[in-house]
Symmetry: C2
Subunit: 344 residues, 2 copies
């Protein structure tokens, strides 16, 4: 009856109805000083009654604040849709955003650097206040790019570099210790580390840590670089098993759930028993691990919690925070059916 033609309700409407200035409405709405408690209450009440929500464009334009963070994932669809990693991570981010009333702008690009253009464009267009970064590469071009653009960013990574961007650092050393201690106590002495692609910084860290921690325990740790794909896990496993029954590894630590599942499948197909003839640990737990037979022993890294931590750090930096490093806590080893004493 009142606002027939005009679709949108603005602070001008509220100001007019209350007989005060737009400025007062703005101050009241944003919880800033400059209005009396009584005026503030009247504004908030009317805004609620009218279902008022400030135009994000107007806020962004005048206050240079979008309330939006960006996530750009540059990975092959075939791999990414197979792993649960990103979906869990996104859920963690969203849990935080639901509470903090933030928004997520998401972009899935190919692996050939198209992502750099998205960071640049979104920044110039003023679409986001900051970025959450995953899958760090060595000399990752995103770090200098975002630094140059002056855009807050948090890398979820295993490397605690001091390059100015925010970093949520995974304690890979502790993760490796948990897995190696488990295998060591079962009696394994020779282990194969089937990693993901070494272009990823965290895979390099894991490889080095597996080697050093293995040596510290008197373990032989061999390494093979995989692709995260099923075929890659199958191939590495059959190659390993062809060396039997010499001094081949009795256990495989696989870089993701897919390759771990492949290892179990392949061993079983070749007539071996898991875990008696071969033990397998998956670096990341997932439904796949719970559904495969036998169920896979795997690390639960609390991915949703990690994502929340990362998002919290990012909002902190956006708000002007200066503490750029934060550490996530070590995960839990879920012992299921694919690890046991080796026969030998």
């Amino acid at each position: 009856m009142s606002t027939a033609r005009r679709e949108r309700i603005t602070i001008s409407d509220i100001a007019a109805q209350l007989g005060i200035s737009k400025a007062s409405v703005s101050y009241a709405l944003n919880g800033r000083p400059g209005v009396s408690a009584a005026t503030r209450a009247r504004v908030l009440h009317l805004a609620d009654e009218l279902g008022f929500h400030a135009s994000s464009a107007a806020v962004a334009l005048s206050a240079s604040r979008t309330g939006t963070i960006g996530v750009v994932i540059a990975r092959d669809p075939a791999v990414i849709t197979a792993e649960a990693f990103y979906m869990r991570t996104l859920f963690g981010v969203e849990q935080y955003l639901n509470e903090a009333d933030g928004q997520l702008l998401l972009r899935l690009t190919g692996e050939r650097g198209e992502d750099l253009d998205v960071y640049r464009r979104w920044t110039r267009q003023g679409r986001v206040d900051g970025f959450l970064l995953y899958d760090e590469h060595d000399d990752d071009p995103r770090v200098p790019l975002l630094t140059a653009l002056g855009m807050p960013a948090v890398m979820v990574t295993s490397v605690a570099l001091d390059d100015g961007i925010g970093r949520l650092v995974t304690p890979e050393a502790q993760t490796v210790q948990v897995m190696l201690d488990h295998l060591h106590s079962l009696g394994h002495r020779e282990i194969l580390h089937l990693s993901g692609p070494l272009v990823y910084a965290h895979e390099r860290v894991r490889m080095q840590t597996m080697a050093s921690e293995g040596a510290a325990r008197g373990l032989q740790v061999a390494h093979v670089e995989g692709t995260y794909e099923f075929a890659s896990g199958a191939e590495a496993t059959s190659a390993l098993l062809r060396r039997r029954p010499s001094t081949a590894p009795t256990a495989i630590v696989a870089g993701n759930d897919i390759m771990a599942t492949a290892a179990v499948s392949t061993a079983t197909d070749l007539g071996l028993r898991v875990p008696t003839d071969l033990s397998v640990i998956a670096w990341d737990d997932s439904v796949l691990c719970q559904v495969a037979r036998p169920h896979l022993t795997a690390m639960d890294h609390g991915l949703m919690g990690k994502a929340r931590l990362a998002t919290d750090l990012l909002f902190d930096l956006i708000a002007g925070g200066t503490q750029v490093h934060r550490a996530s806590s070590v995960g839990t080893l879920i012992v299921r059916g694919t690890t046991g004493p080796p026969r030998r």
Copy 2:
């Protein structure tokens, strides 16, 4: 050297450097008439050289256009991270957006109606130009809400209602025909349809279609409502197998990959052989289907392509298009190791 203090490059900068008006720059940039070819070329060249990207806030505020679509997923994290459905769907959407230079605002909420608030808020805030809708319920409250808000929307569904919102309609009848023909030709006469929750409109359609198409082929089709979860598939399967060897179904059509995998696992655990003693089809193909043993026979619905179609329809409606219904094409049955002739 020139723009030291001022971070952002604006059309005013371009206009100044070229000695023309802001309006001309705007026309040139947006490919609209009102500038000579020569001027347009100079503008575009300089904009490119300066790495100019228009402020999305300013465009949104003045032109009421964000270039952003919203997707709000109201599902339990445990289920959603297990299925590949949404990740594939998001990839399809993103493929389209990468080409059309559109953006995606994503929100994952709980299942208790919090999503309605997000639709309302994003609309009032002017954050998006339209919504992509999934998981239609009977009398879905989102339809009247978005209609009232005057917001373009496309529901990806199995129901071709004429309620004004856009609909990309899955041909469930054809899908059912493909699966039933396969089972029928193998010799199955009694089939169990283990559906997902019937609160979803597409599950109701599937149930009705399974019944009618089954009857048309002289098949007995029983129905059990599942939850999409592993436990649900396991339970339904063991209940079915307890009825053996009477006139129990010899095949299960399961509503998603998780329940299908559960059916195979459970049957195997109970000492039955798949597919000899029990055949299983998964309604949606996934890595899980390819990794499980035996590999699962499943429908490939071309989810990424469907998502692209839906996004295309949405942008069409946003641009003023009036054709609200579009049909997606039927998927392909991938015959693997879980379907074969029944023993009987």
